[in-house]
Subunit: 91 residues, 2 copies
């Protein structure tokens, strides 16, 4: 830990925050059973981007890129599934 | 361009997609004047994370990290402002 500096701390904090941020969205969607205001195009573009990040992480052998993007993918894919489920329920 | 490879292409595509993804969300929120289903906690955590990415990008002098996160910050900060504006309007 002696080589750990405050620049790494910002990078770690950044990755942590932009990953766990989607947990309250997942919880809110699950609880309210509504995601009408959440853009379907956003979810599809974002999830496609996350898959590209995962491929990139695999290719450059970066564990932090892989870990952060796999977790973010799981959260956003779950939000997408919930959105599609609740949309079908109200039809 | 001779050194450009398909690994870089995945990284570039990943950054592009996870950045522009928020544009349709911004457009949807502006058009429907509603963002009740969008989690406020998500926006606050995500924006805080983006600020950390920008600080990290400045510290390590990474133009791609800076560029992608500044654009994503602008989109998400605008969504936050719209969400708070429309919430106040309906009170």
């Amino acid at each position: 830990m002696s080589h750990f500096n405050y620049i790494d701390l910002f990078g770690f904090l950044a990755a942590l925050l932009t990953t766990i941020a989607f947990l309250p969205q997942l919880y809110k969607t699950w609880k309210t059973k509504s995601a009408d205001d959440v853009s379907l195009v956003m979810l599809i573009l974002f999830i496609t981007g996350l898959i590209c990040w995962i491929v990139y992480g695999l290719k450059i052998h970066s564990i932090p890129i892989l870990f952060a993007n796999i977790v973010t993918f799981i959260f956003n894919f779950s939000i997408l599934i919930l959105k599609l489920t609740y949309r079908n329920n109200t039809q």
